[in-house]
Subunit: 352 residues, 3 copies
């Protein structure tokens, strides 16, 4: 349920207005009727709209008590007759736009908390909000309308663009960040990468890392993510990249525009990921590789070679998805049929 302890709708919307916001067709119901909230199908009641944007929700759609439902044309027949009916190809997008309108745009309090420690040589744009315990070091430059959450630390000379949201406990150093970037709690950006050389006594000595992290616009970085700075070149995250929680991005990695990286995936040093690539969760990519534009790597895969543009891979070592799943089917078939005996027979030619 939309938890009213934390979230408040900013007012009600007529069904006519809902249609305009979402782009959905109102195929049943009174355009003048209003909704006041959005809720999941199984919890929604009078005055609330619910969306069926996943096939697994159809059972809930049939019994929902929502005043209005938002569905694909295919599922219109499953909506209760009493509910106003919105139809569109992509109800999830409609829902997102509606939520944005009903609940979005809440501005955090603007101002700098008195416990924040901001260097006199740092520059801060207008209408920023800086939380308690925040540290902003020498020469850092932060744009307008930024929010810096409690206890975050913005290092020396870091650049952050406009309208960025940095949540609590974030560390940023040696980084230049664009506009409209969102960074969730505990992300670590710009620390020294993992490299060392052998000293005279054959002990490992950490290598200086003299590159930076360069992040584009509208990038989304998850909680407790780690992005190391480059060694001599930069670690680069292009615009519109979305990175889920607990992802590791090593030094010198390049992530192309619009790529999506799911939780707990790791990319080793100096690997380059093309535009629009999707890496599933818990994927591992070895170092010094190139992943072609639009490629898709399924969750838990291990990539140890270059990947062609548009390829869809799975498994470890990663192979084309179809081949991976067929190989599993073959192996399971062999296992169930007691293949070892068959083969033994063929081999010796004597057993029955």
């Amino acid at each position: 349920v939309v938890n009213r302890r934390f979230f408040d709708a900013k007012g009600s919307l007529s069904l006519q207005k809902v249609s305009e916001i979402t782009g959905a067709l109102l195929t049943r119901g009174d355009p003048g009727e209003v909704i006041e909230a959005v809720a999941p199908l199984e919890h929604a009641g009078p005055g609330e709209l619910a969306s069926c944007h996943n096939a697994s929700y159809v059972a809930a759609l049939r019994t929902t008590k929502a005043s209005a439902v938002l569905v694909t044309p295919e599922h219109a027949k499953d909506a209760p007759h009493g509910a106003a009916l919105f139809e569109m190809r992509d109800p999830k997008k409609g829902l997102s736009l509606l939520l944005e309108k009903l609940y979005g745009g809440v501005k955090p309090m603007v101002g700098i908390h008195k416990t924040a420690v901001i260097s006199s040589s740092a520059r801060l744009g207008h209408d920023c909000s800086v939380g308690p315990g925040v540290v902003i070091e020498d020469g850092a430059e932060i744009g307008n309308h930024c929010v810096i959450g409690a206890n975050s630390v913005i290092g020396r000379s870091v650049v952050i663009g406009h309208r960025c949201t940095i949540e609590s406990h974030v560390s940023i150093s040696y980084a230049c960040i664009g506009d409209d970037v969102s960074i969730k709690p505990g992300a670590r950006i710009g620390q020294r990468g993992f490299g060392f050389f052998m000293g005279d006594g054959n002990e490992r000595i950490a290598q200086l890392q003299l590159g930076a992290v360069v992040i584009g616009d509208r990038v989304d970085i998850g909680a407790n993510v780690t992005i190391d700075r480059g060694s001599l070149r930069n670690t680069v995250i292009e615009s519109d990249v979305h990175i889920d929680n607990l992802v590791q991005i090593a030094h010198n990695v390049f992530i192309g525009q619009g790529s999506v990286i799911l939780s707990q995936t790791g990319i080793s040093g100096s690997t380059s990921v093309g535009k629009g690539v999707i890496l599933g969760g818990q994927v591992g990519v070895a170092g010094h590789l190139s992943i072609g534009e639009g490629a898709r790597i399924l969750s838990k895969s291990g990539v140890i070679g270059h990947v062609a543009p548009g390829a869809i891979l799975a498994g470890y070592p990663a192979v084309p998805r179809r081949l991976f799943f067929k190989s599993i089917a073959v192996l399971m078939g062999l296992t169930k049929r007691g293949t070892q005996n068959i083969l033994k027979k063929n081999n010796s030619g004597t057993e029955n």
Copy 2:
């Protein structure tokens, strides 16, 4: 060894008392004799008790210098003759109860550090300890006897029950938490989940996430864990759930009572985990799935389908454990016997 720099026993205990606390039978030794500390078998000396709660410790049991040992009846014969002897079915539980009695119950200093930043609209129960640099935002409600570690941030309207321990550097937002919950350093609870929709310019736009995180009683949450809040419904962690370090729990996930999730496992959005489930380490579970009550998923498995109650699965894609290990045996057998040649022969019918 029990490191006396950090931990101090609160006094000595007679063997009679040890028997009462642990529930173990004192089958050899003087009930009036005392022990003053607990130590591992290989380090224990006079005045110390050691436990043999794992079969791999039997060699150490035979040579221990401990004054008293706690063993299963099977291993009683392996205890040195000079040591007092406690026998019980589950020495690990006895040991835990004894440690609790000898070393437990240390109360952190009660009080609110002067550098903590607490909103005037937040409510704090009695006998709480709030560390330096802690931030508690508007409308948050915290029960009695809670400990909030240094530099943690408790967000707007968050609810925390009684006797909770929040360690340092924790971020909590959009969450309602029960009693006796323990949260280790760096855990991130309640941040926006990973969801987006395509904007007009085809750029990805982060979706509003209007659900909360609801956590029951006696839940244990590991260091640097990430638990995202729900999108429209809540992310729910029921009572008695134990979550190890670096686990990822996505939006709308449900974890049933008493489940255990080992380190570095990730659960994707909207998946439901039944009661008493055990997920090993580095497991990945895809989204929108249901894992039945009491199921057990071995470490490193990847679950991409629903799981029946009580099932024990392994591998990727996860299959019944027995089948997984048999398939590996089959594959290794084929590999070692040079199966490719055999098959080639069968196929062509001509080679020798």
Copy 3:
């Protein structure tokens, strides 16, 4: 590029001096000529030195505009004729030494920030730098020339040696740490391990953990790493160990000298890792195991048995690397040749 916003060379060096620092032979060029910076091959220009320390860089070597290049003897022929030429067996080491000389040794400002909260019973050596919001609890002891980054928390009685660098947002408790240790942002060291016992009501109760974390000299610990303290014995990290980001080390684990652990790997409780072991990324090691000296475990492997010294393993369950890759080749061969049909034919003896 060496980003001059963040890093400044401390002066210029003659080629003669570069030869002395790196140990490389100057086989072409004027020893009196100077360089002022180091840059990657494709970005370097006049006055800059570039290194070719990876075979994949040879194309960039051929076209670099660097004034001087550092190469292996094999690649000397690929260097542009106009560039001064340094040759050595290990250009990466030469490069590291040169970077250290040109850019290293930058000392952070010494002093204790006025917002740091330091117990009167804590002891701090000379020439330390303690950042804003740092908390140092009762009885902690910190050596000389240490840097403690903003908002880090050093717990009660913790010991830290000389010349350690603790970056921002680090939590350390119940730990004794040697000299020259580097800990990156968000690392969690010393929290209670993951252990519990069943209470009377059959609920899980977290077990007291009375061991510490003991860390040697020159250890490097990555961002958002978690290292739990021991239960009765200690968790031990010996000297010269390097641990990459997001690694999990459970209670009672022992890591031998000089071992290297790559990102997102997890080691379960009570496992012992020998000296000089290399664990790739996303490796999982089960509990109570022993990994022999010098063993190497490839990325994404799952280790569920003891490992012999010097072994090189891959896969899950981990087997010798050669066997793993051969087994994959066998499986892919079977899959591509439609083995299921072949086997069915052999089995029934009737199908065509």
